[in-house]
């Protein structure tokens, strides 16, 4: 019964081919069915795992959420001695470090992709692409160590004093760049995160830029467009769905990055206006404190943090989907 269902809904060409080959033998049908069940099983197992993870996070984090209520999200006290926990510092740290990373990574990735797809001499294209993709293969702990031992000292000696003197004195945004030059902190974490997510965003952008039909680009060039105009008015509109997808893929990675951030964000449970001051992210505080979370409420609070990160990532995904949907409908609107 089920076998015939499977066969009937299989793609037409395939079914035709299998019918031709087996000439009416039924033995192919169970194979089809098996294959379909197997792939469905794989897909469902992953989905079920996701739901199970979410469920266990809710279950384990429940005692913290019940104890502190909504205040858990908006208080900044994190005191393992008195068992008072609030997630605000870590939520802010996660969002700010990821925002810095995106501010840097998106334009840089766009430039890289444009260079590789449009401007680079063809002999350079391969090596540059390969090197950028190699960045993605470096384990995050290596980024952390590099950030701590190489980048942070340089940043403290060269960049931060300059920022202090030149930007820190400005009214308004100056407050973001004040503080002792330590080399570690929110800004350093954001920059290293940017380096980590650039390969993801850049390679997606490059791939879709490359598949933009040459006829479209050539027509624009023929009308006298500059490279920038072609990028802005031809390539980007054509590829914006995939570009947005790539950007959100990078953002998702930045939000959840643990090891590298733990090394360089400074791990201070304080809110500070300055980006040069140390902070903490959700992933980093869990990595730091999980092993020694001795009281049940403490452990539950850390798991509730995990749940919050899960929800933030989920919101980002939903937001990305909605954005894509809107882009698609507006695109279709234009067409008609």
């Amino acid at each position: 019964m089920k076998g015939s269902e499977a066969a009937s809904s299989a793609p037409l060409e395939l079914r035709a081919a299998s019918e031709q080959k087996s000439a009416g033998k039924t033995s192919v049908v169970p194979a089809d069915f098996l294959f379909r069940s197997l792939t469905a099983f794989f897909a469902l197992v992953v989905a079920a795992t996701l739901v199970a993870i979410m469920g266990s996070l809710v279950l384990e984090g429940w005692s913290a959420l019940r104890t502190f209520g909504w205040k858990f999200l908006v208080t900044s006290t994190w005191d393992p001695v008195t068992n008072e926990f609030g997630a605000l510092v870590f939520i802010v740290g996660t969002l700010v470090s990821s925002a810095i990373a995106m501010l840097i990574a998106v334009p840089v990735s766009f430039g890289i992709a444009l260079f590789i797809s449009e401007l680079s001499p063809s002999w350079l294209r391969g090596p540059v692409s390969a090197l950028i993709e190699l960045l993605a293969a470096i384990p995050s702990i290596i980024y952390g160590m590099w950030g701590l031992l190489v980048f942070a000292p340089w940043f403290a000696q060269v960049v931060e004093p300059w920022l202090n003197d030149h930007v820190g004195a400005l009214p308004g945004i100056g407050v973001l760049f004040q503080g002792p030059p330590m080399g570690i902190g929110m800004l350093t974490a954001g920059i290293v995160l940017a380096i980590m997510i650039i390969p993801f965003i850049a390679s997606i952008m490059r791939d879709v830029f490359m598949i933009t039909p040459t006829t479209l680009k050539e027509s624009a060039y023929a009308l006298g467009s500059t490279t920038w105009e072609v990028a802005r008015y031809v390539i980007l509109p054509y590829t914006r769905t995939a570009v947005t997808g790539g950007i959100f893929l990078g953002l998702g990675r930045a939000l959840g990055e643990t090891m590298a951030v733990t090394f360089i964000i400074g791990n201070a449970n304080n809110l500070s206006a300055s980006l040069l001051m140390p902070g903490s992210s959700i992933a980093s505080v869990i990595a730091n404190e999980f092993t020694e979370a001795t009281t049940p409420l403490y452990k539950s609070s850390l798991l509730a943090l995990g749940l919050i990160l899960f929800v933030i990532t989920f919101i980002v995904l939903v937001f990305a989907k909605l954005l894509l949907l809107r882009l698609e409908t507006s695109l279709e609107g234009k067409k008609s």
Partner: protein
């Protein structure tokens, strides 16, 4: 049948349900014990267990997952012993059916990064360190620092406080000491393996703190003694409870242990920080081993045999990696404690 039973027993041992009953009769080869906990005591247990394996054929698997993890594991009964840098109170031990005893003594010290000031040149006191870590003393040339260091040219530099970001027994020992010398620290911060730090940046592990201190001019941090020797860090001398200026040393840590009477405290519940004595190092610490009373007697016997061996034969090994052996009177008291509580 016999073979089969032996096989199952071996599998059980491998599964960390250590020292299954019935092993005493067979050869030692293949016997294994599992412990978990403190990262601080890991080098010592590793060194002891390697030598113990060679001598007796008994394998000790120790997982350095942190003191909190060690306590959780022994409570759950998944390991033969748990190790913690923070002792459990006698009440909690009684409630959970556990016992504890000290293993070895060590200490920690403050390290700093100040241009032109040599290792050991800077002198600090407990209350001053508490004020620095509370964020009250912000500059190196603050009168409070200058008063303790006449003749030292202190720079006009901001103090960057470095602490541990991960939960740690090192932090507990440090914070416990500050709680003893500063009432403000006691009420505002307190002592635990993780704290709500008023100021500063957090480094992961001793090496993380050491790395920050080496790279941030004007910084101060606390690390275990072994890291000072290894990393050639600029360490501070401290003013101890007797008002004497002391340098960190194994002898200083052992003096701290000699002044607490381990033998009289119930379940050895004493903390070695801030002890009296002219040569006593004020920030000394200890690791406790925790056992389950309800564990099979053979398992507990294997564990106590291992630590007994360590107390008797592992002294020089301990000293070679900057752990101070327990005083003989304490070792005697531990053996009596085993007898009363475990019947071993």
């Amino acid at each position: 049948m016999k073979l089969n039973r032996r096989f199952i027993a071996k599998a059980a041992a491998a599964l960390a349900v250590a020292g299954a009953v019935g092993f005493a009769a067979t050869a030692n080869a293949g016997v294994s014990l599992t412990g978990a906990g403190s990262t601080w005591v890991f080098p010592l247990v590793a060194k002891w267990s390697a030598a113990y394996m060679k001598e007796t054929g008994i394998q000790i698997n120790y997982q350095s997952i942190g003191s909190g993890g060690g306590i959780a594991q022994i409570k759950a009964g998944t390991v033969a012993f748990g190790a913690s840098d923070m002792p459990l109170t006698p009440e909690e031990l009684a409630k959970e059916g556990l016992i504890q005893f000290p293993t070895a003594i060590a200490g920690e010290d403050l390290v700093y990064n100040l241009p032109g000031i040599k290792p050991g040149e800077l002198i600090l006191s407990g209350p001053l360190v508490a004020d620095v870590y509370l964020g009250k003393v912000k500059k190196w040339n603050d009168p409070a620092v200058a008063k303790l260091n006449p003749g030292v040219k202190l720079p006009n530099m901001a103090i960057t406080v470095v602490h541990r970001s991960d939960g740690s027994g090192t932090t507990f020992t440090f914070a416990d000491y500050l709680s003893k010398v500063s009432p403000e620290w006691k009420t505002k911060v307190g002592a635990n393996t993780s704290l709500n730090w008023p100021v500063g940046v957090g480094g992961k592990g001793n090496e993380g703190v050491a790395a920050f201190v080496q790279r941030i001019p004007g910084s101060i941090g606390y690390v275990e003694y072994a890291y000072i020797l290894e990393g050639k860090l600029s360490y501070a001398r401290m003013i101890n409870r007797d008002g004497k200026v002391v340098s960190p040393s194994l002898k200083g840590f052992q003096n701290a242990a000699a002044h607490v009477d381990f033998t009289k405290a119930k379940d050895f519940y004493v903390i070695l920080t801030g002890q009296p004595g002219p040569e006593t190092w004020p920030i000394s610490g200890c690791t406790w081993q925790i056992l389950r009373k309800a564990a099979p007697k053979a398992t507990n016997a294997e564990v106590t045999k291992f630590f007994d061996w360590g107390f008797e034969k592992g002294q020089s090994m301990a000293e070679s990696i900057s752990f101070g052996p327990l005083p003989p009177s304490t070792v005697k008291a531990i053996k009596a404690y085993w007898k009363t509580n475990l019947g071993i």
